[in-house]
Amino acid sequence: MRNAQDIVDQIGSLPPLPSTAIKLMNVLGDPQSSVAHIVDAIKYDQAITTQVLRLCNSAYFGLSRKVTSLDDAMVCLGTIKVLQLVMSVHTSSALSKEQHGYGLDPGVLWKHSVAVALASAVFAQKTNLANANLVFTAGLLHDIGKVVLNQYVADEFVEIVRRVSDEGLAFCEAEQQVLGFSHEEIGGMIGRTWQLPEPIVLCIQHHHVPSALETPDPLVDVVYLADCVCLLFGIGLGEDGLSYRADSAVMDRCDLRESDLESVGLTVLDELKRVEQLFATTPSAACKQPAVH
């Protein structure tokens, strides 16, 4: 536990998300906000506006005319698509670095995060989730705690894996025992430090054991399922592998079957390839190389 204070200190020194991203998340979390509010949250950030317009005009979307403003982009592509782009661009630099403690090569955590975000959006649609705007971002950020815990996991890797193998612990339970924190707990603390909307913090904090929440939360359930699908299909898998607990109650709550997980997996794989191409062919994007794990 000697590391516990160190770890908490690290949270403070993590480069914060751009203020536009935080502002945008808060606008999205507010059911009263309109497209105009969303455009307002982004338009003063020249860098992000330029990047979004460049992405919108890439061959990926195949638009017949040039998109010249954010309003225009939202009309052509739809608000959700544009927001997903904005958040993907914003998180790529925080999530693209190698996380050697988890055996994640450069770009792999971002690939996993985008895949979970895409899968979360698909599950949100399948389960008619009301607050679908936030779910993509929650999926993107669910593993943000790994960025801080990485070095500590690297130092104690042998002991963590021993507890997983010999004692049948989930990887996050072993993190908690050995380091004093699991990556979800640290992620939740990062979320609060960054003042993310509470529903997103809840998703980050409980994405491995959603049924531990006193009142089940549909947003958390969706992010949990999205993560499961990506782990099962090995999308951006690290050395923690599939060593997390299956929470079958989530399937009942969401009224889903295993075949639903399978078809979401197939959809996400297709979508992810497209997103990787988009970012690989857009020089401005922080993640230039799609993850070749």
């Binding site: 055996g103 894996v161 193998s165 049948g168 989930a170 499961c228 782990l231 099962l232 299909f233 090995g234 999308i235 951006g236 898998l237 690290g238 050395e239 592998g241 599939l242 060593s243 997390y244 607990r245 299956a246 079958s248 399937m251 295993e258 075949s259 997980l261 399978e262 078809s263 997996g265 197939l266 794989l269 070749v292 794990h293």
Partner: protein
């Protein structure tokens, strides 16, 4: 030459010195075939047992599913001179979440489907490293037929 076999893909080769490699096997199955006499090797990384889930996707990427991908890989190896009776078959993957109720059992079903296909066709598995909850990387040297599996505990020959 290193040939990377992506998820939902397969490769066969008779090229001397080639290595086949696939990364990040979770509940998916990685399977290699090798004919020592013809010096032909193959590898598949399939995601799901049955193509009935999406016939359209199975048509576009047969290696996504065991029942559509495995026969295609064997046929591709035969075209390069491999023969079924000489084939050495190794299997890895099929990992699971820590599951008390068997809810997310894609890994297990992936493996069972392979056993079914092999049983019908009289093919034996020579070595396997299946199940558990680790991520695996599978590699085969086509010259020697040597297959290695790497996971968080290290790398070992299969």
């Amino acid at each position: 030459m290193n040939v990377v076999v992506d998820i939902a893909d397969y490769a066969v080769t008779a090229e001397a010195g080639a290595s086949l490699i696939t990364y990040s096997l979770g509940s998916c199955i990685g399977m290699t075939i090798w004919d020592p006499q013809a010096q032909v090797g193959g590898m598949i990384h399939y995601m799901l047992p049955e193509s009935s889930l999406s016939p359209a996707k199975a048509k576009a990427s047969p290696a996504m599913f065991a029942d559509s991908g495995v026969p295609i890989m064997f046929r591709a190896a035969y075209k390069l001179g491999a023969e079924k009776k000489r084939m050495i078959v190794k299997v890895a993957g099929g990992s699971q979440l820590l599951d008390d109720k068997g809810t997310f059992n894609i890994g297990k079903r992936n493996y069972v489907m392979l056993r079914k296909i092999f049983w019908k066709n009289g093919i034996l598995i020579d070595a396997e490293d299946v199940g558990g909850s680790v991520s695996r990387t599978m590699r085969m040297d086509v010259n020697t037929g040597r297959v290695t599996i790497k996971n968080r505990d290290g790398e070992r020959e299969l």
